[in-house]
Amino acid sequence: MVSVGVVGASGYVGGEILRLLLQHGGVDVTLATSRTMKGEYVFKAHPNLKGFTELKFTDDDPVTAASKVDLLFLSVPHGSSVKVTPEIVEMGTRLIDMTGDFRLKDPSLYPIWYGFEHPAPDLLPRFVYGLPETHREEIRNARFVANPGCIASSTIYSLLPFARSGMINDVTVVDAKTGSSASGNAANRASVYSERYNSIRPYRAAGHRHTAEIEQELSQHAGRKVKVALSAHAVNMVRGIQTTSSVFTDREVAEVDVWKIMRQTYRGEPFVRFIRDRDGVYRLPDPKITVGSNFVDIGFEIDRHTGRVVVISTIDNLIKGAAGNSVHSMNLMLGFPETQGLSTIPLHPA
């Protein structure tokens, strides 16, 4: 069996990758690293895994880790991947990088959006942007994948049909609402339960980093520069992202037009669901019914009053927005059926 490892495995994304891999059936998880929990069972950090594995954390550094496995997931904070990745790339181990360090093609964007000069700009072209629905064949042939950001992927899924069809213009306004797990497991004043419960924290009203990758990917499909005005809020829940996008269209569009470009874009995609109903409780995507699955749920509403289409999509940030998407990429890279280990039905109610 193929052996895989996870660096940064004590984190939330790392834990979710472990969970998916332990139920995958095609791979052996042989390595999980943590700098702070060496020697502890992985279920000490991820208590849900109790009964499913007796693996313990090691403190192998990323390069050593890469030398011990067939494929490595690198699930560490932004900026700490780029310090070790060049050596791993040289070594040639298959790598799926969960950080933003290799998502952007244009190195000049790093100082602007990430606040650092990219130290290995020549490696950027060697990474594939790991969104299976838009880069499937490249991922199949890739050794190095840069997994998309969570808000980025939710936004891209929403806007892709509009970009492809040329309907998008001007600035698209995107309002994102995320659960707490999107910001990882760090304990600090802002992440304390008493402060975050019942809150709507506009944690990035403007200037969110994911803007760069969203514009990069959509512009490619639109054949022109697409601009996105993103505001991100942390809301009172742990998992899930919802993005509400206002796409202003030049000409009036009808419901049937939108359906058409949706279908064209996503025909046959195993992890895309359309959610749109005229009555009932769930008429448009809601993280409540997406969380726990690898789905992106997409729906829309037409607003004649202002000439926009409101497109709404939801994902589980830790699955479709991170671990699930990366396992999808792994399946493509290693020749497994695409959906292996990823077809769980979400829970309702929960």
């Binding site: 999107a182 910001s183 600090n188 802002a190 992440s191 944690y203 990035r204 991100a232």
Partner: protein, 57 residues
């Protein structure tokens, strides 16, 4: 003693016995200022460098 914030127009309370080099901040907009001049019941402030810490999200 109170002085007006040059950013937002809010009133910044500066202690009467403040000294050059002390830091004060505006209660409304959070701008940090350094006291660069004192005297004659007046105080001169200069905006300090804006180091915005990350929220951790």
């Amino acid at each position: 003693m109170k002085t007006e914030c040059s950013m937002c127009g809010g009133l910044i309370e500066v202690p009467d016995d403040c000294l050059k080099g002390e830091l004060v901040s505006c209660p409304d907009c959070g701008t940090d200022y350094e006291v660069v001049g004192v005297g004659g019941g007046q105080v001169t402030l200069q905006a300090a460098e804006d180091v915005k810490e990350d929220w951790g999200e």
